[in-house]
Amino acid sequence: MRRLAFIVPIVLFLMVAAALGLGLRRDPSILPSMLIDRPIPTFDLPGLTPEDTVGLASSDFTGKPVLLNVFASWCVACVIEHPMLLRLQSQGVTIHGLDWKDEPADGAAWLAQRGNPYTLIGSDPRGRTGIDFGVTGAPETFVIDGHGRVRYRHVGPITPEVWTETLQPMLARLDNET
């Protein structure tokens, strides 16, 4: 009994310390997406310039799995991510772009300067479509399957590791599904 009174608090302390230690390793700025395995919100956005006759709509997400990348001309991390997107495009990956909370002209100029990795682009200057997606910042990337459902959300730039370890296997698996 005596010894138990000694051991129990120590064990409890170790358990709490372990739980808090694990918590320290998690990035609290990454929130779980509410959309996982749910259909994407309905939207129909114009393109970046008046000459762009096609923008991006929720109906564009049928057939095969694609990536939806949230970017903006004001987004610093997007500059870092951009070469990776161009590389993926050259490998035949379909990436749609959402120019989020950005003047469409600024977004167009940004892409003209750096190259356009996107198949379709939607302009969302008021940010409402992004909010419907639960976007908390740019860049963010959604994996959307051939049925228009969100399967995965990545917060932050796509690094080579994120691509080879997470996104590429996921797209390959979804390709087999459809």
């Binding site: 609290p28 509410m34 909370k101 008021r126 940010g127 409402r128 909010i131 419907d132 908390t136 910042g137």
Partner: protein, 157 residues
Amino acid sequence: MKRFVLGLFCALLIAGPVAAVLPEEQLADPVLEARARAISQELRCVVCQNQSIDDSDAPLAADLRAIVRERLSAGDTDAEVMAYIVDRYGNFVLLKPPLDLETILLWSAPLLVLIPGGLGLALYLRRRSRAGGADPAPLSAEERRALADILKTGDAP
């Protein structure tokens, strides 16, 4: 200099918490605006996570404030407005998380600490009072003599 520091201190005393709501964001109807403020104070800003959207200067918080006001103007109840935001960002945006399977540990933590702690304390106090409650042993002859000495001279031997 002293006066300046004192003035600065006084200024700090009278400065209350200031919300980030800009005048042009506010609704003309004071009742709706009050509801919007109350709802905004319950919603967490997802950019700077320890502020409510009512307090935060983040652009996304401003957008969410605008959405709260839009939904209210469209006739939504307070609960519907909350549900609209939670639907997009999850329960995490609620500064008062609801009681569910994921938060049961959070809500029950005070009880989990208080009940065993209280029991332990009660047990300890009972044991101590029982030990202390028994009649003390009577004084020995020597002790009684020493006590009589102290009482007579007011001095310890």
